[in-house]
Symmetry: C2
Subunit: 333 residues, 2 copies
């Protein structure tokens, strides 16, 4: 087996924000950041779960201003570098400017898989600021392969150094990740990344498929802390990759200590695959629809699973929350 | 994609016994059995975690006699059939005889991967009793592929109708499962099964690999309830298989209700991949070594992970518990 050099980007302090209702304290950020740094993680991400500027009534208010958290994380770094997530429309160029001034060294500019074109100026700003700059194609299952390829090429044309396939709903199957990664590898010259969620217990399988087809950046979180059923488990990836000959530069015991000694302390609940997260993975619906769906299920006396499955069939996307009540009403009849 | 007909054997009430310290009550068995039966599960297993006769100081005393539990499970079945596990040396032919009288319809006779020859009379008895009879090759990673093939052929020659690759320590990687299943498929005429554990977050990936190479019997447990990090998650398999075109005859919502409404109530802890279970998967050491290893780590002031990794390198097997203290002493020097 040939060895491969990989970058594992840990998202405990960004995607994990969803799992703790955006309540990270500065001290929590510091201890996790320190433990990631000591374990040899090259990049880890710190932002509101929905990216810079996400703190709001709509997406959930942060307990501590994320800029303060980014500053604290940077302060703990001896060898790691801090990444931030930016979803244009939620975060702005000003947010990115500020994060860069505070010492962030990487930005991942995220859009819905069919909307890369809204990110051109943010990608360009990332490059101008001297950041490692990536495009992040969320809900990647909602575009056919050729559309995904087209959007990835857009990101590359704007200057993205990495384009990520982002399985936001944890719904892609291994052969789908394989096909998507292989298609991108054929046409892109920049690096390829994969960000998985575990709603179908397939995050690790999908990550391995992506790597085998040429992805070199892969996301994980300690103890899976993240949205839905959580992310690919960072410390487990380090163990599995060692056995597969994939090199991350991360030491196994220290990253295990970061997970079980540090991150475990800040978890509010275990990251299991339960009923709701399973149905979201099964139907390909993102977690932001969940609360409205539960409301609608109660109001119309229908099974919330039926609503989610129907929303998945209709390829509902963020902003179409009204559709939830429409579907519930139809199912009730 | 071609559809495939599969048998999903649920082991919540057998492997899950490890996860509740063998404390299942008759009422717990009844409610889980009923929910599995209603969801359309063809076979589910009921026995002490270490198989018939496992209740002992060495393996852990059962709270309720397993024969009583088997009888209760059979009583709840309208369409399902009850399987039992038998490890020769722990259980006897008398145990199997009794279980069959109580209505068990399947037996899986389990041996260490290199010791199928101890099971000849038990396989033959299973067939004589009219049970669906399988051979269960535990710790399958500890034999090279040709040895595994040879042992599987022994099982088949004794009359086994299914031979299982059993990844007891949750340590096999997807390509290893693929190679092993393909090798068995080439030489066996009987059915092939796969039993996975999730210590490396690969149980689902490995199960899919096995099916793609010809396995038609796969094990799972509700909410992963089982030894180590638990088993492949039954209800998640049903969802994933539906998307892959694999047919199990199990209905998704009822099996989810069995998991999240019923099994979740009897869990003592979530089935996460934590430090200890990860190292067992990483090093290929079975969970029965764990308590002694923790004792030895304390006594000699060494990291229990180092002991487990070294035991894995030396291919330690059950019965060699003295080796644990020897390794700890060596590491301390």
């Amino acid at each position: 087996m040939n060895s491969k050099n990989l970058y594992l980007v840990d998202v405990t302090l960004r995607d994990g924000s969803h799992a703790v209702k955006h309540a990270f304290t500065e001290e929590q950020i510091r201890v996790v950041a320190r433990s990631l740094d000591q374990a040899g993680v090259k990049f880890f991400e710190v932002s509101h779960g929905d990216g810079l500027g996400g703190s709001s009534l709509q997406y959930g208010l942060s307990f501590v201003n994320e800029m303060k958290l980014i500053e604290a994380a940077v302060d703990e770094c001896r060898q790691s570098e801090v990444s931030v997530l930016l979803i244009p429309g939620i975060g702005t160029k000003d947010h990115l400017d500020e994060a860069a001034k505070l010492g962030a060294k990487m930005v991942r500019v995220a859009t819905h898989v069919t909307e890369a074109d809204v990110a051109q100026q943010h990608i360009q700003l990332g490059r101008e600021l001297g950041l490692k700059t990536a495009g992040f194609l969320m809900m990647a299952h909602m575009a056919p392969v050729d559309k995904l390829v087209q959007q990835a090429k857009l990101f590359e044309s704007y200057g993205a150094e990495i384009v990520y396939i982002v399985d936001s709903a944890g719904t892609l199957l291994p052969h789908q990740v394989k096909d998507r990664t292989a298609a991108l590898r054929q046409v892109l010259t920049c690096d390829i990344g994969f960000h998985g969620h575990n709603n179908l217990s397939l995050a690790m399988a999908n990550t391995i498929e992506a790597i085998n087809e040429g992805a070199t950046y892969v996301d994980g979180s300690l103890r899976c802390l993240g949205a839905g059923s959580g992310n690919t488990q960072t410390e487990v990836m380090v163990a599995v990759f060692e056995r597969l000959g994939f090199l991350t530069g991360i030491d196994l015991y220290p990253i295990m200590d970061a997970a079980n000694g540090v991150a475990a302390q800040i978890m509010q609940r275990p990251q299991e695959v339960t009923g709701t997260s399973l149905i979201m993975g099964y139907s390909g619906v993102y977690s932001s629809f969940l609360l409205h769906t539960q409301d609608a299920a109660k109001r119309f006396g229908v099974d919330e699973r039926d609503i989610l499955v129907e929303l998945g069939k209709r390829q509902a996307v963020g902003g179409q929350e009204d559709l939830i009540f429409q579907v519930a009403a139809e199912l009730a009849n």
